[in-house]
Amino acid sequence: MNVAKLSAFLLRRPGALIGLALLLVQIVAILFAPYIASFSPTDADPLSSTLPPGGEHLFGTDELGMDIFSRVVFATRVNLLISFTAVFVSLAIGVPIGVVIGFYRGFLSTVVLRIFDFLQSFPIFVLGMALVAVLGQEIWSVAIVLTLLFVPMFARLVRAEVLSQRERPFIAAARCAGANDLQIMFQHILPNAMTPVIVQISIAIGMAILLTAGLSFIGAGVRMPSPEWGLMVSNGAQQMILGVWWIALFPGIAIVLSVLCFALLADALRDLTDPRLQGDRRARTA
């Protein structure tokens, strides 16, 4: 895929362009947070508590007097670090497991599936609290909890897809060409099974951001005063009824835009990776 083709592809899809723009905003926020933010994200200033947006504090301040704009910008680092680590580590572990247990349907595969059942039936928040008690209240603990949740999800998704792909005639054709099991699994089946996974990545990143917030809320996640969108929303939610809307609103918008960004990108990525969906069917003469 060359640059000209890629830009033509993007121009046909405004959604992909918006997704790319949002991603760029987030990358800038991550790289240049100290230059963009005019305050430290963790410095409390009791004298300027709950100031409304405007003036010196663009998004206002929370009840401890911390600048919300700075916190929203710095939180991009924390949130995307947790979400990306969790999702991509789960992908790297879950997808190969899914391919193997879909391809070989023996006793061992059943055992792996039952372990997944066990992991997925465990309440995520109880698991989170237990892990945090053991590992300490670090952002890495949150990432590990999320990984434990996402590995079975990706593995099951891939397995379901592999089950249908492995019966298709081109697999038999590959065997005739001399391909062994490993080559069939990872060169033939996997690329054809990835489409739903690519879509799921965006959903998982969104889920990761929301779950991080949830874990922080029950005290099993990131601690104050670390800037994290979910934590800021849950803090602000208590103030909402008092008419102090800005504490929860701005990190909330950040979550929405971030999730939207990955959803749009996933859509474009799905089309881009599937040769059948690239509508430039060659004109042919009969």
Binding site: R168, P169, F170, A172, A173, A174, R175, C176, A177, G178, A179, N180, Q183, H188, P191, N192, D274, P275, R276, R281, R282, R284, A286
Partner: protein, 547 residues
């Protein structure tokens, strides 16, 4: 042939033009023809000729995005396009019945078929549920379903393909239509079932005096069922003629090429063998049982013996479920036989491990049935053809490119196709890629699984010619798995007829076509609908029509 009793047209197409509009070429271009009472009109053309769109347009059902740009369709003297929706509903499934391809997919999977037929009737006539049911049952009996009371309660998945097709025909007939549109109604049915269904359909229509439009890509069907033939090409109706006159000599060059392509090629010259030459492939007492000791067992292969000598072609002929595909899979070790032996070039390869069998893969290759699904949709042609080079014979990139374009050349494709994806190719090109892929390792034996099904007439003839040509040039042996007797005539030296996992007759192709011994072989041969008379034998459908 049958003379129409009534010369007044039932259905008139007058310069019908359908397309997207604007500068784009119309998909149906000024189609003009008439259908009379008690007439069967065969509409023939290749994929993309606009046959299916024509049947839809007659019902006023032009797909979204397309418009009627000109012309008219008149049923009983009034235009279909001027009618209001209620009138159109009365027409669709009422006065004009439609029989589609793939009957099983057309039926509602969650309703008994009897009720589905009754539902159609009640949508068009004021009849009570019980009367509609009894009419449905009577009609099921009429279309040749045994024990119709019980079958009416069956769900579509409990019926065979042939029975489902009969149900769909009953559905189309239940409202006593004046016109019947059959769009490739027997596609995908076994030859014997196809002959029975067509036979029944033709008789019913004759008895009721219907006008029938029979859309097909099989000239054999037209010859044996139709009064007149209309040839379509790229949306235009280029020739309309009485079938007899057409078979004597079509006026248009395109029609002539279609007719030529549908005829069988002369039997290939018998490969000369010395008695001492040992068979390339021998299958001895192959048995394949599906299902375990505690579940229902299916004997897909039940003691099958056959052998193929070098440069020889054996055809395994039989209907779906006769075990012919399983036999091919056993030879390729895609599945392991329950018992029996497979000898290749004198060596027992039955129990070799996958790793040990790998060198043999180079010598035994397969061309898969459905060309598109047997090609990995995410791989380019270059990688698809070159896969076995990569896996079996490591070679430099340049050498691989050279061999790939040589292979594309061997199957008469331009080497520019190497960077195309399978979905960018036509069905014929996909089939050729499948063949090129099998030839990549220069095999001694190629298994062709249904090499000619679901292909257009001319593409089918091209593929047959290609296989004949490749065989004579490369001197390879072949195992054909097919139910298309026409291609067997053109390609095979020996024929093995399979039924329920056994070989019932196994002789040379000439002998088996001239003097079939077994009743089942005769039944298979009778079901063939050739475009030309094989010497000394009349086809049964044309006899049935003549009565």
């Amino acid at each position: 042939m049958h003379a129409p009793l009534d010369a007044t047209p039932l259905l008139e197409l007058d310069g019908l033009t359908v397309g997207i509009g604007g500068d784009a070429a119309p998909i149906l271009n000024a189609v003009t023809c008439t259908l009379r009472r008690n007439e069967i009109l065969g509409i023939v053309g290749e994929t993309g000729a606009g046959k299916s769109l024509l049947t839809k347009a007659v019902l006023g059902l032009v797909p979204e995005g397309l418009r009627v740009l000109g012309g008219d369709v008149r049923f009983d003297g009034c235009s279909v396009f001027d009618r209001r929706n209620e009138d159109l509903r009365d027409l669709r499934g009422g006065k004009i019945g439609l029989i589609g391809t793939n009957a099983k997919a057309l039926l509602d999977p969650v309703a008994p078929v009897g009720r589905q037929i009754a539902r159609v009737l009640r949508a068009h006539a004021r009849v009570g549920e019980s009367e509609a049911q009894s009419r449905a049952i009577a009609l099921l009996r009429e279309v040749g379903i045994t024990d119709p009371e019980r079958r009416a309660k069956a769900y579509p998945h409990e019926l065979s393909g042939g029975m489902a097709q009969r149900v769909v025909i009953a559905m189309a007939l239940v409202t006593d239509p004046a016109v019947l549109l059959a769009d490739d109604a027997t596609l995908g049915l076994d030859a014997t079932v196809q002959a029975q269904v067509l036979d029944m359909l033709v008789q019913r229509c004759r008895r009721r005096g219907l006008g029938v439009m029979l859309v097909t890509h099989d000239l054999g069907i037209v010859r044996n069922c139709c009064d007149r033939i209309a040839v379509m090409r790229e949306g235009e109706l280029i020739e309309i003629e009485n079938v007899d006159a057409f078979l004597r000599g079509p006026r248009q060059a395109y029609s002539r090429s279609l007719l030529e392509a549908a005829k069988a090629r002369p039997t290939p010259s018998i490969a000369r063998h010395t008695a001492s030459e040992r068979p390339l492939l021998q299958a001895e007492k192959l048995v394949k049982i599906y299902g375990g000791p505690f579940t229902h067992q299916v004997r897909a292969l039940d003691g099958v013996d056959f052998s193929i000598r070098p440069r020889e072609t054996l055809a395994l002929v039989g209907e779906s479920g006769s075990g012919k595909t399983t036999a091919g899979q056993c030879v390729l070790r895609l599945t392991n036989p329950t018992s029996g032996r497979i000898l290749f070039d004198g060596e027992d390869v039955t129990d070799l491990s996958a790793q040990k069998f790998k060198p043999w893969r180079r010598r035994i290759q397969m061309v898969f049935q459905e060309p598109y699904v047997a090609l990995n949709p995410r791989w380019r042609v270059r990688d698809l053809i070159g896969e076995s080079f990569r896996l079996l014979d490591p070679m430099s990139r340049g050498e691989r490119e050279r061999r790939i374009s040589a292979l594309l050349d061997a199957v008469h494709l331009p080497s520019s196709l190497a960077s195309a994806f399978p979905h960018e190719l036509s069905a014929g090109e996909q089939k050729r890629i499948g063949i090129a892929r099998a030839l990549a390792t220069d095999p001694d034996l190629v298994i062709f699984d249904e090499p000619t099904t679901a292909l257009d007439i001319r593409v089918r003839a091209q593929i047959i010619d290609l296989i004949r040509d490749l065989q004579s040039r490369r001197g390879m042996s072949a195992l054909f798995i097919t139910h298309d007797l026409n291609s067997v005539r053109s390609l095979a030296h020996n024929v093995a007829v399979m039924l329920h996992g056994r070989i019932v007759e196994y002789r040379s192709a000439e002998d088996i076509f001239a003097t079939p011994r077994e009743a089942y072989t005769r039944k298979l041969l009778d079901a063939e609908l050739p475009v030309e008379d094989p010497p000394g034998r009349a086809t049964n459908v044309s006899e049935a029509i003549a009565v």
